[in-house]
Amino acid sequence: MRSVDDVHHLLKPFEGRPVAVSAPARDPVNAPMIRHWCEAMGDTNPAYAGPDPIAPPTMLQAWTLPGLSGALSGRTPAGRGSVGHTSAHDELFALLDGAGYTAVVATDCEQEYVRPLRPGDEITFDSVIESVSPRKATRIGAGYFITTMMRVRVAGELVGTHRFRILKYAPVSGRLTEKPTEPPRPDRTARPARPRPVVNRDNAPFWEGVAAHKLLIQRCAACGALRFPWLPGCGRCGSPEWGTVEASGSGTVYSYVVMHHPPFPAFDPPYAVALVELAEGVRMISSITGVPHDGVRIGMSVELEFIRVDAGWELPVFRARSEGPEGEVA
């Protein structure tokens, strides 16, 4: 299989190949094009107007471009723009287009102006492919930098040079230059479902108990120790044998936190998360109902209840007893 950089060895031989040899410009340097340029750029330099204007030196490349007919039909059709052009440019572009590097962006322009151009100057130019870079990863996509060097002449006299670098690249979809979009806001009416518990053979009897509105605590068959949450073996003696005890449902808040941030899509902060100590002595993490999030207190007496959180499943939670903790374990 060919590697992605495979075309570079095909590109390298293009270095040194002429693109244009004594190619004539489409038009002589002329005052109307100078004026259009100055109007577009907002350039009011008096040297570019009046009875004996010079062309803005930065127009140098503009005189050499083929114009609309060249852009529409490539560089090969008959016409003045194609005179003096070799096939090197078209071949190089066809090769890169075929390899997926279909987009072009100009990156560098280095111009030297030997003498000003004036209306009536008849321009010819030579252009050569100076270098083709190895494949480069860029912000807008991977591609190849192609540098050409152009010499611009009037009646054989060098009037300027123009080194031009483009990146011929494979565009990445989803440009980084896009304006960032607003992050989606949580839709309160269509809140995502809560995360589901993982039910496996080690804890399936617990969830079967919940479905039957029973809160089941594991008890080691060997040493009798109670444990919660459910685990395959006893934390005290290591025995894998176990049975269950149904919790009475009474408990107290052993500790709690109030969640403010970060928000989780299925929940609506702030809310309290409590560590409830059951009357049997084990502790479990759960929610407290019957009081607002800031009404939960350590030592608060609570009573088991089951709530339906989404269609099809329920969770054991604890409701704050309306009376004080009289008669309950402190």
Partner: protein
């Protein structure tokens, strides 16, 4: 004009008209400079200013400053620019410059142009100063 001196900044609103007029005035009919749909098809969010227009704006910025100080005979000798982020319609390009060196015959100025996305252009420009003896 002394080395280290800053040029007053030039603010250029990048209008759709400037992008297209600049492309056409420079005979650059690449569709990404005048056809927004074609530009989007090539992965660009909109048309963007062509390098010849950037080059022209950099030249204008520097000659406006130098001819204002040294007279209309000051003329560009070299312009070297490198493009960074694109300039899209609606952006505002702010050109800033600093004098790098000055001698009897030439002045060299560095130019940076930034828009909301970052650096659009960095470059150096060499301007020939009018001699006192010859036109």
């Amino acid at each position: 004009m002394t080395p280290g001196e800053e040029l007053p900044p030039l603010t250029v609103p990048i209008t759709r008209t400037l992008v297209i007029a600049g492309a056409i005035a420079s005979r650059d009919y690449q569709d990404v400079h005048h056809d927004a749909e074609a530009a989007r098809a090539k992965g660009s969010p909109d048309i963007f200013m062509n390098i010849l227009t950037t080059n022209g704006l950099v030249g204008r910025y520097v000659t406006d400053y130098v001819t204002g100080r040294a007279g209309p005979k000051a003329v560009l000798r070299k312009v070297s620019i490198r493009l960074g982020v694109p300039s899209y319609p609606g952006d505002v390009l702010v050109l800033t410059g600093r004098i790098l060196s000055v001698n009897e015959r030439t002045i060299e100025i560095s130019v940076v142009g930034t828009n909301r996305l970052g650096r659009h252009v960095t470059g150096t420009v060499l301007v020939a100063l009018p001699s006192r003896t010859a036109a």
